[in-house]
Amino acid sequence: MTSPTLEVTALCKSFGSVRANHDVTFSVDAGELLCLFGENGAGKSTLSACLTGLYRPDSGEIALEGTPLRLSSAADAIRHGIGLVHQHFVLVPDFTVLENIVVGSETGLFVDFASAEARLRQICESYGIDIDPNARVEDLSVGEQQWAELLKALYFDAKLLILDEPTATLDVEGSKKLFRIIDKLKADGVAIILITHFLEEVMQADRVAVLRQGAVVGIKKTAETSPEELTRMMVGRDLKRQTRQSTPMGTARLALESVTVEGLGERPDLDDISFCVHEGEIFGIAGVAGNGQRPLMEVIAGVRKPKSGIISLDDTVISSKGVHAIKSMGLGHIPEDRFAEGLVRDFSIEENLILGEHRGTFAKGGLLDFRKMAQNAKRLIAEFSIAAPSGETLVGNLSGGNAQRVILAREMQLASKVLLANQPTRGLDVGVIDYIHQCLFNKKAEGVAVVIASSELEDLIALCDRIGVLFQGRLMGIVDARKTNLEEIGLLMAGHALETAV
C-alpha cells in the first residue's frame, strides 16, 4: 500500500500555557476530502498553520507521501506541494491577480509573465473559474478575491490543498462551484483538507476529523455518521435547538417613522423606513448584505443621525439624542464587526466591559474604580462563561466566540428596553450561537424589544416573531415569522414586493 499524501502523528503546539493542538494524529489520502470540524478556538487554524509552515509544531511529525517534513516557511510548504487558501485574504490590493500569484514565489531574477499568464488562464478554464488575471485585486469583489486565493494554490500544482473556511465569503452559488472544483481536484488525485464549521459542507467530505480543545476527538466516515453525532462530538454535549416561545407581546416600545438616512452616493442608505417593535418581541431584519442593515442599527443606536423621520423609545423621541443618552435609556447594541466596532483589542476584558461606562458607573472621585471593574469582570466572566484566564486577559487574545461573549456581557446589561444585534452569530460555532439565541430569548421574556439582523434566514424564522426585509435601503415588507417561508423572504430580499405582507 502506498503512503497517504499527508500523515500527521502526535502533533503538539502550545502558545504559552494555552494548548492549541495536542497529540493530533490523522492522515489524508490522495484524492480524498477530509474535513476538519470544530468550534472556534478548537485549534483548526493553528493546525493548518503548522501544516503550511507558518508555525512550527512543538513536537510530533508531519509526513508528506511517506517522507518526514520540516517546514521552515510558507514558501517551503509551497515548494513541497502544500497549498493553503486562507480564511483571511493575503493578497496585495494594488497588484493584479497574476502579480499576486507570481511575485515572490517564482524563483530566478526575472519573471516570465507571459507564460505565467497563459498557464493561469489555462487553469481558470479547466476549473471553470471566471476571473481576469490582469484585474487588480482591489477592484475584485470579496467573492472574487476568494477565487484569486484559490488560484494561487492551484497554480503551484498542490498535492495537498488546505481550505480554511473558504465558503465564509461565498454565496450559495459560489459554494456549489467550489465543491465542483473540489471534486475535479479529487479526481486529479489531490488530497484536500477542508476546515469549516458548516455542517452541510462537512457532510460532503469523505471523512471528518472532529477537533475539540486542540485534540482530535474522533475521525468518522461521513457515510457512517450524522450531523447530530458530529455536533455532539464537537460540543461535547447534546444541543437542543432553540425555538421561539410564545411570550405575549406588549405595547409598542421602539418605533421608527419615515426614517431616511443619507448615503454617500445618490441613493439614501435608508429610505423612508417605518416599523415598530413591541415589548417582548423579537423583530428580525433580513436582506442581502449591504442593503441597509448596518445603517438601520446605527441610526437607532444614535451612531448615525437620520436626515428625516422620527425614532422613539417608549414615546420619547431618541433620534435627536446622542449615543450615550440613548444607551442610558436602556438600549444595548451588538455591532456587526466585533473587533472593529465592539471591542478594543489591546484592552483587557475588564476594560472592554466598562467601555462607555468609564465616566459613569465605574468612576469614583474622578478616577477609575479598579475594584469595581475587577468585580464586574469576575461576575460577567462567570455569568457569560467567557473562557479566559482572568479579567486582565487582552481581548485580542480571545477567540471570536469568547470576544462576542464579552460584547454580549456588556450590552445585555444595558439592554433593559431595547437590544440591537447585528449579525451576532456570524462566524461562530453552534455552541456559541445556541448561547446567544438563549440570551435573546431571555431578553424577550423580560419584555425587551429585540431587533436582530442576520444572514441566517433559518435562524431568523426560528427566532423572530416578525421579520422585516430590506432591499436597497427600503423596507420591502414585514412578514409573520410563523407563517412565512424561505421563498417568500427570498423574493422580498431580491426586491419583489409582496401583496400579502403583514
Binding site: V344, R345, D346, H358
Partner: protein
C-alpha cells in the same frame, strides 16, 4: 537554525537589558564616528562624561538641560498614546514662549507671585490653542495632523522671526541679535539652585510626569486616550465624543510643549529669542519614543538627553570633536532604542533543526 518567536509578555528585566545594550551599541557606533573624524575617542567621551556628571554643578546643569525635554517628551507621550502623530511640539513650544512673553508685556510691575503664574498660564493657553487648532482640523476636516503640525511649526517660528527682526518685540538697538530686551526680575522663574539656574520649571516637569502617568493609568480621560489610540471606532460606538477627546488631547499636548518654552525663556535665558529653543520640540519626540510612550520612560530619556546635551558643550570646548556629532549621536541612540523596543518582543533561539 535560528528561530524567532513572539513573546507573550515582556518582563521589565528583559526591557532594561535590551535598553542598556542599545545604549552601549549606540555609544560604540558613536565611537566609530569620532574615530573617523580623527579625534580621540577616549578624550571625547571623558570630556562628555565630565561635562554631564563630573561634578555636582555639572549634574545640576544636566537637569537644567533636561527640563524642556521632559515637557516636550510628555507632550509626545500624551499625543502618541492616542495615536495622534503630532510633530507640533516645536511650534507649540514657540507659541508658549511667545504667549508667555506677550502676557509679560502687560504685567508691568506686578509682583513675582502674580506675574510668574500668569505667564505660565498664558503660555499654556497659547500652546494649547495651537494644538487644538490641529486637533480641530483633524476631527472636522480630516486634515492629517502630521501635515498641519509641521506646517504650523514654520508659521510660528517665522512669525517670531518677524517679531524679533525689527518687529515690535525687537530690543532697542539690538536688531541684529534677533532678541527681545532682558526680562525684568519679577518675570523670571524662581531658582532652586541659583549658581546653575536650576529653576522651578524642573519641579514642574517632575510634577507633570507624575500627573501624566496618573492620568493615563487611573482616570476615565486616560482610559479614553488609550482607547482612542487603540480603536476610535469602538469608542464612537459607545457614545464617546471622539472629536472632543482629540481636541483635549491636543490641548494637553500643546500646553505641555508650551511649558518647555517657558522654562527655557523665563527660567534660563531671560530673553525671548528663537535659537535657544530650536530643536527642543523635535528632540522631545525622540525622548517620548525612546521612553516607550510612558511618562516615566520619557522622564528617564529626557534626563539622558539633557546630560548628553550638557556634556556635549563641554566636549566641544575640551576636545577636537565637532559639536555636530551630538545630534548624530542622538539619532544613533534613537535607532538603537527603537530597534531594542521591537526586538525585545521576540525570543531568538538558536537550536538544532529538529523538533521530533
Amino acid at each position: 537554525m535560528i528561530e524567532i518567536t513572539r513573546r507573550q509578555t515582556v518582563g521589565y528585566r528583559a526591557r532594561i537589558v535590551a535598553y542598556l545594550l542599545a545604549l552601549v551599541m549606540g555609544f560604540a557606533c558613536t565611537s566609530l564616528l569620532i574615530w573617523l573624524s580623527g579625534a580621540s575617542v577616549m578624550e571625547g567621551f571623558s570630556a562628555l562624561f565630565e561635562g554631564a556628571f563630573g561634578s555636582e554643578e555639572a549634574m545640576l546643569q544636566s537637569l537644567v538641560a533636561a527640563t524642556p525635554l521632559i515637557f516636550t517628551g510628555l507632550a509626545t507621550v500624551i499625543a502618541y498614546r492616542a495615536e495622534i502623530w503630532s510633530i507640533g511640539q516645536e511650534g507649540q513650544m514657540f507659541a508658549g514662549a511667545m504667549s508667555g512673553y506677550f502676557a509679560s508685556l502687560y504685567l508691568g510691575g506686578a509682583p513675582m507671585v502674580v506675574a510668574v503664574p500668569v505667564i505660565i498660564l498664558a503660555a499654556m493657553i497659547g500652546g494649547a490653542l495651537l494644538g487644538m487648532l490641529c486637533g480641530w482640523l483633524k476631527s472636522r476636516f480630516a486634515v492629517n495632523e502630521i501635515i498641519s503640525t509641521v506646517m504650523l511649526n514654520y508659521v510660528i517660528v517665522y512669525f517670531l522671526s518677524y517679531l524679533l527682526a525689527g518687529g515690535p518685540w525687537t530690543a532697542e538697538g539690538s536688531t541684529s541679535y534677533h532678541q527681545t530686551a532682558l526680562l525684568a526680575d519679577n518675570f523670571r522663574l524662581p531658582l532652586i539652585v541659583s549658581d546653575v539656574k536650576l529653576h522651578i520649571g524642573f519641579l514642574l516637569a517632575i510634577l507633570a510626569t507624575v500627573l501624566c502617568w496618573g492620568i493615563l493609568k487611573f482616570t476615565p480621560f486616560g482610559f479614553e486616550i488609550r482607547a482612542l489610540g487603540a480603536n476610535p471606532t469602538a469608542l464612537r460606538f459607545k457614545g464617546v465624543n471622539v472629536a472632543r477627546t482629540i481636541l483635549i488631547v491636543m490641548a494637553v499636548s500643546g500646553a505641555l510643549s508650551a511649558l518647555a518654552g517657558v522654562s527655557e525663556i523665563f527660567g534660563v535665558n531671560y530673553r525671548l529669542k528663537g535659537d535657544v529653543l530650536t530643536g527642543l520640540g523635535f528632540t522631545g519626540i525622540i525622548v517620548g519614543m525612546i521612553g516607550g510612550l510612558n511618562p516615566f520612560g520619557a522622564l528617564i530619556a529626557a534626563l539622558l538627553f539633557g546630560a548628553l546635551e550638557n556634556g556635549s558643550l563641554y566636549m566641544s570646548v575640551l576636545s577636537d570633536i565637532p559639536p555636530a556629532l551630538v545630534p548624530a549621536m542622538q539619532g544613533i541612540l534613537l535607532l538603537f532604542f527603537l530597534s531594542a523596543s521591537v526586538i525585545v518582543r521576540y525570543r531568538v533561539r538558536i537550536r538544532r533543526a529538529s523538533y521530533v
